[in-house]
């Protein structure tokens, strides 16, 4: 019998038969991992198995290739505190959809796990969580091998005044290097490079940027699993909420 114990973030729950559930969790050492939870669809356990929940997991299987079964202990819920926030709920679903679709199963993904853990704990709690979400998407692209090169201008080589990203190559372009092509490039909001506060317009630009490359490089995979829909809904909800709060329309 193979067994391990670790904490993980619940990303997906599917009913399995009448009383059981198959869950997918993101753990630090065992990556994205699925398993059966006996009684997971029961009246007692189902409320605890909400996407985003932090769980203490014990996984057992007879051989490594089996799906195996989880014994779960709830550590804390992340969904409940954000139930009243539509954008945060949508972001949580987007994170879960992107990870369950893009991450290879059972491969350790320490950085992805740590970033996701940190992001989910900020949802609806920190005012800058929409910017952190955009940065999380940017990092996810890099983790998946599709990182953007934002170190210097692809045209002039300068490292200052980087204002755009080429939609084809994913390389940064400076204000000067863009020239008359500026309107064909994707705006690069400063907070993606330097951190800090961002307006609704800058956040919308950041999500447009990451959305473009998620679509370009992972489009077929994400579309097949509806993850792109979840991600786009989150982007719309985040920008919509920021615009509403600021009272200014985005371009």
């Amino acid at each position: 019998m193979i067994e391990w114990r670790e904490q993980g973030i619940l990303l997906a729950v599917r009913r399995h038969g009448e009383a059981n559930a198959i869950i997918e969790v993101l753990t630090r050492d065992h990556g994205l991992h699925a398993g059966v939870v006996r009684g997971g669809a029961s009246r007692k356990q189902a409320p605890l198995l909400q996407v985003g929940a932090q769980l203490d997991l014990t996984w057992r299987a007879r051989i490594e290739d089996h799906i195996g079964s989880f014994v779960v202990e709830p550590v804390r819920s992340r969904a409940v505190p954000i139930m009243a926030d539509r954008a945060a709920l949508a972001a949580l679903q987007s994170v879960a959809a992107l990870l369950t679709t893009c991450i290879a199963e059972r491969q350790p993904v320490e950085e992805v796990h740590d970033r996701t853990y940190a992001l989910l704990d900020t949802l609806a709690r920190q005012p800058d969580w929409p910017q952190l979400y955009a940065q999380w998407e940017l990092s996810l692209l890099a983790d998946l091998g599709f990182g953007l090169d934002l170190s210097c201008c692809a045209v002039t080589g300068v490292t200052q005044q980087l204002r755009y990203v080429s939609p084809r190559t994913g390389r940064a372009v400076s204000q000067q290097g863009a020239g008359e092509w500026a309107d064909r490039l994707l705006p690069l909001p400063l907070f993606l490079l330097m951190g800090g506060d961002a307006s609704a317009q800058e956040t919308a630009d950041a999500l447009r940027l990451t959305g473009h490359f998620l679509r370009q490089w992972l489009g077929p995979t994400l579309t097949r699993s509806n993850a792109l829909d979840a991600r786009d809904q989150a982007a719309r909800a985040i920008v919509g909420q920021m615009v509403k709060a600021a009272g200014t329309p985005t371009g």
Binding site: A12, E18, P47, L48, Q50, V51, G52, P74, R76, S77, A79, V80, P81, M83, A84, R86, L89, A90, L92, Q93, S94, A96, A97, T100, S225, N226, A227, D229, A230, Q233
Partner: protein, 198 residues
Amino acid sequence: MPDAPLDDLIGLLARLPGLGPRSARRAALALVRKRRVLLEPLAAAMADVAEHARECLICGNIGTSERCDICTDPKRDPTTLCVVESVADLWAMERAQVFRGRYHVMGGTLSALDGIGPEDLNLPRMAQRIADDSVTEVILALGATVDGQTTAHYIADMLEDRGIPVTSLAQGVPVGGELDYLDDGTITAALSARRQMR
């Protein structure tokens, strides 16, 4: 080994929720033994339901006519609309015998990951009812789940321009519940929704 018709009956019963092959065998035996008082009335009731059961054209409840009893009851308040996820939820609300308005069954919840969008739910019919029936309050009785609350937010946004109060069911300590046995999520929700005692 049962005969073929009995075997078919057991096979069909075993497909019902809550029944497995063993309990289906027991149910089939009980039906056969109580032919007059159970099997024949059950067969007649099932044939009747099979012929007449249908979805109410207004609210989505299941009844035996085009408009269910709730939608045609003149004592029901047509200006208060309670939105529920499924017929099972509607029946649960009715068991409480507290709500005297009318219902609208969504037929599910939004779930981007499962590919369930607004076009898959009974949203247009709900919007039409709200416009036609002069609804003055919409109560969202949707599950306290991620999908349930996402759907609730979607409906609340959809109705924002109409200026109708949109309320949702409270979340918190269940009747008879003790704090020690509650999960942290429920306690958080209960604390957020605390109310003044005097």
